[in-house]
Symmetry: C2
Subunit: 155 residues, 2 copies
DNA sequence: TTTTTTGCAAAACCTTTGCAGTTGG
DNA sequence: CCAACTGCAAAGGTTTTGCAAAAAA
């Protein structure tokens, strides 16, 4: 039994580990880059580019275009991914250990992270019946959360 | 047994039936309106507003804003609805008998209409497990169709 | 110093809105 | 005739792109 078989595939567990990975790819560590990475670590939920750019999540304001460019770079490296929940803007999160799947509420915007495997039956059923291969990582299941389905406030 | 119990709830089976319904609501029958309705009947698939406006589906070119306004009106009357399939523009279709649910291919844009009830198990599973109430009418299940999953052409 | 990255501005998409002129009833 | 509807133009929201100035290495 080797040491490497005991150490899990080194994931990123801090902004520094991500920044080091970026350095390893010959990329430079700018302040905008730092703000994006720190915001993603600070928030425990997927953030919109606008939320990151505003600086409200840890950092300070950064140009929106730079945020999008950095998110794109991070996605190409597999460090970040994004989800489209209903009509709202895309939301970005660290990939972490495997890609989470989501359920989104079309009414209140809630985004529920699903435990791994919890949608396997759905996936299998859709595959068998329609031949479609589905992962609710990029386009989540959209519907009404329990509260909104129970007839939340207005409308 | 009354006559009304034998006649199914009169659905719209031709452009004229829709136009008559519009008249019944005090709305006027303009040429743009006619083009939109005819296009939806002519195409047996959901159309984007752009496709309708271009006139490529039966009619002749109509202003895009008018198309959106007409689609909105028709949706308010329950005659039309629209689906968001992945990154592409919304696609509009006649409601027909009940609202169809869809599966969309994130890669090739295919939109598969699902037979009624075929997603009931999925719906029940999602309800039990997460409390979410889901209908894949407005936001379909998005994934890869069999062809694209099998490793279609590029990418 | 050199290549990357930023900020700002403009543009690309899709959709909505304002408005004056046209048209259906 | 008059309210409804259209076309055009502009704007709104999200994301992308061009470019010259700034900054990382």
């Amino acid at each position: 039994m080797t040491v490497s078989s005991l150490t899990p595939p080194l994931r990123f567990n801090s902004p520094e580990t991500v920044l080091n990975a970026l350095r390893g790819h010959g990329l430079r560590i700018s302040t905008a880059r730092r703000v994006v990475v720190q915001a993603l670590f600070a928030a425990e939920r997927p953030l919109s580019a606008e939320e990151i750019a505003s600086g409200e999540e840890g950092g300070f304001p950064v140009d929106l275009a730079s945020v999008y460019r950095n998110l794109e770079t991070l996605e190409e490296l597999g460090i970040v991914r994004h989800v489209h929940a209903g009509h709202s803007a895309g939301r970005y999160a660290l990939t972490g250990d495997g890609e989470s799947e989501y359920l989104a509420c079309e009414r209140c915007g809630a985004l529920a992270e699903v435990d791994p495997g919890e949608l396997d039956e759905v996936r299998a059923l859709v595959r068998e019946r329609f031949g479609y291969e589905v992962r609710f990582t990029h386009f989540p299941i959209v519907g009404l959360c329990d509260e909104c389905a129970a007839g939340g406030e207005s409308q």
